[in-house]
Symmetry: C2
Subunit: 200 residues, 2 copies
């Protein structure tokens, strides 16, 4: 592995586990074995290093989902949404550091002043929401899903699934045992009809 990639890998780990501000360049230098000057030879400053990491996170996560959709065959829209949820939960485990980075606050703070950062974050979230939304739209067409607004329902599903993923991160609860209940809750959201009559 090139020194540049070693720096990227170690920084991803340190930034996600300990935080951006909490990780010093000297710590990164020790971890990778690269001298201080070498890091700044490859990346113009600490923020630039973070942007490069975030770009990789974006590319990884989105390509993983594209592969999953491409390789899978779904019986119907509901089946596709369920598969997406399961895949999302598995992916947060496999790419733990990358999702942890997205769950931190620093990226969103940097996004306020760095438009590249903001566009990467928007790409990731829009891409993820699209995955859910496309399944819902497909399900509405084939009758396996009922939803008044596909985008809103996608956001709610995403909020719940991502929220469960977070519960693990926080080390306060073990969310693994929630899987069965999570799946049936998602099914309930997507199949129970006559919402309009109940509202107000």
């Amino acid at each position: 592995m090139s020194k540049r990639n070693a720096i990227l890998a170690a920084a991803t780990r340190l930034f996600s586990r300990n935080g951006f501000k909490e990780t010093s360049m000297s710590e990164l230098s020790k971890t990778t074995g690269a001298a201080g000057g070498t890091i700044f030879h490859h990346f113009k400053n600490k923020e630039d290093l973070f942007i490069n990491i975030l770009e990789n996170v974006k590319l990884n996560i989105l390509s993983e989902f594209e592969n999953h959709i491409k390789k899978s065959k779904f019986n119907n829209g509901m089946d596709r949404v369920e598969s997406t949820i399961t895949f999302y939960l598995n992916l947060t485990g496999e790419l733990e550091d990358q999702f942890l980075l997205l769950h931190r606050h620093y990226p969103y703070q940097m996004a306020e002043t760095n438009s590249t950062c903001r566009s990467y974050l928007e790409s990731v979230y829009n891409g993820l929401l699209d995955m859910f939304e496309e399944g819902i739209i497909e399900g509405v067409k084939d009758g396996t899903v009922q939803s008044s607004s596909a985008r809103n329902t996608a956001m709610l599903l995403f909020a719940m699934v991502d929220g469960v993923a977070r519960l693990n991160t926080y080390n306060l609860y073990h969310a693994g045992s929630l899987y069965q209940d999570l799946m049936s809750s998602c099914r309930n959201i997507l199949t129970c009809g006559s919402q309009k009559e109940v509202i107000q």
Copy 2:
């Protein structure tokens, strides 16, 4: 307001909006008008200041919920759960800084080495989950709610509602328009029956 309280108030705002590590004691000194030494006269160090803030956050949030439950009359368990969700969403707006603090990563990192911090976080989350769970249990008894595991369902509801609250925080989406869909999704989770048959 005493200087001590002024420091607590300003630190709550700065820690929640900018982060713990990102907020310097000199910035806090300028904001409050208190000299550097004064801050360390009232709090033994920066971490101790944070712990004091977190204690206030815990007390505030839990007492708000206790008041809400005490003052309200519910028609049934489902009504109580719905009311809890609405109250939670309103409270995240009113106590924006305090919830923002809980949504950051630093408290959970500090909790790994500081047992006081950890116990405060556990108190808050257990208390919040209790609010949801008690409504669900009540609903199961009076027949307005169907749930196999009250605690798991409470966690799922919480994950979704808190996830929606987060969407606002991240400035990526305006989640206000999600309210109607969120409420009907929660109703679906709580009322659609025969989950057992569908699973597997």
